[in-house]
Subunit: 228 residues, 2 copies
Amino acid sequence: MEIVDQIAAIPLFQGLQRSQLEELAMIVVAQKIKRGQIIFAEGDAGTGFYVLTFGRVKIFKLSPEGKEQILHIIPPGEPFGEVAVFAGEPFPAYAEAMEDGYTFFFPRAAFIELIRTNPSLSLSMMAILARRLRKFAAMIEALSLKEVPGRLADHFLYLSSQADKNGWLTLDISKNQLASLLGTIPETLSRILTRMAKEGMLETSGQRLIRILDRAGLQELAAGDRRL
Amino acid sequence: MEIVDQIAAIPLFQGLQRSQLEELAMIVVAQKIKRGQIIFAEGDAGTGFYVLTFGRVKIFKLSPEGKEQILHIIPPGEPFGEVAVFAGEPFPAYAEAMEDGYTFFFPRAAFIELIRTNPSLSLSMMAILARRLRKFAAMIEALSLKEVPGRLADHFLYLSSQADKNGWLTLDISKNQLASLLGTIPETLSRILTRMAKEGMLETSGQRLIRILDRAGLQELAAGDRRL
DNA sequence: CGTGCGCTTGACTTTTTTCAATAAAGGTGG
DNA sequence: CCACCTTTATTGAAAAAAGTCAAGCGCACG
């Protein structure tokens, strides 16, 4: 597929005219990324931003002791690293490829120029930023106001729409990564999962399959009305 | 002062032409707000956004048990509630006036129209959103990867640039509110402050004055290299 | 001058982490 | 296809961090 068509397929760029897509195609740098590769590190200069076209990327913070907190898991089609472009500051977190994949890199100056001339692109970008702010606000709320069982219940309820017809849902990340996303450690996650199962709230199969058995129970946990 | 001049003084609107400022003046709704007043509640429809012209406003989440987590304290000149405008969703948190003050309210549709025709306004708005995302990311990192002493040390180091010539700095919020900002409770904050003072890291005077005595010690705490 | 709110302190409980050991799963090369 | 090795997951016991409950102080404000 032509690069310009790949760019046209990115949700962020919906509404751009063909000529503008072609401008983007001129400045874009396509990159292959390998599982485990650090795409940028916290503190690196933000000379542009990325759009993931294939694979998955995690954005995370690292404590001095090496514990990580995942801020965001980027699915294909979404931009990342864009905050540095608009704030004009270094990247505020790490980005690492979770799988082999591909990215497009857009240099800062050319992109800002394009925004300047394209209101619909601005609005798309603002919608994305606003959505992320909302998500971060929810994470802060969860970390501060809920205990781990509540956060985990939240997460399962959030995932529950993706369950198959038998009610099984597949975790798309390892439990270690899930722990990092929820702001805890694997041991704690494992214990809580065991307790949830003992309470009959859910059952597991293998390492990545979960079935919710007591939705109301999970909701009570998430709301803090019940404890394990 | 004319409303249009007040609008012209808002950083977000720097770079707008006089005619556009006048357009804004036509659609703006000036509001007086009283200390303790809820300006919007989580879940309210986001029909527009606000700019604070005088006073202070806290943006916060509330747990079912009534514990609050402050996300942001808005100083005069800054917009708030703008996330709902771009995401097209209800307000994700509460906004409450901390003091008597004044706001400008800008209805959604007219503002989006203005953005559509004004690239420099877009870029200003994106810079604000990006700065907030960065700040939220730092909060998530702190909540997840640092203990309360580290977060408190962070906060004092952040404030330290505002110290007077004798090194005293004035807390601009009550300790209860500070606890809520740091994701903890007043009791815990109080104990840690006492321990910091015992360790000779700082001294206090009255309820709102702090002087940092051992900057390096606080930095070690913030980095997790030391504990109390 | 009293009432209330903000702040502090103590004793106790709960939640989470740490450390250590083990078990299970998944991928790789022979 | 299997043995091996690394990664991922689980479990227990102990320690640490933070929260809860309750009491009391002091300052500001009506």
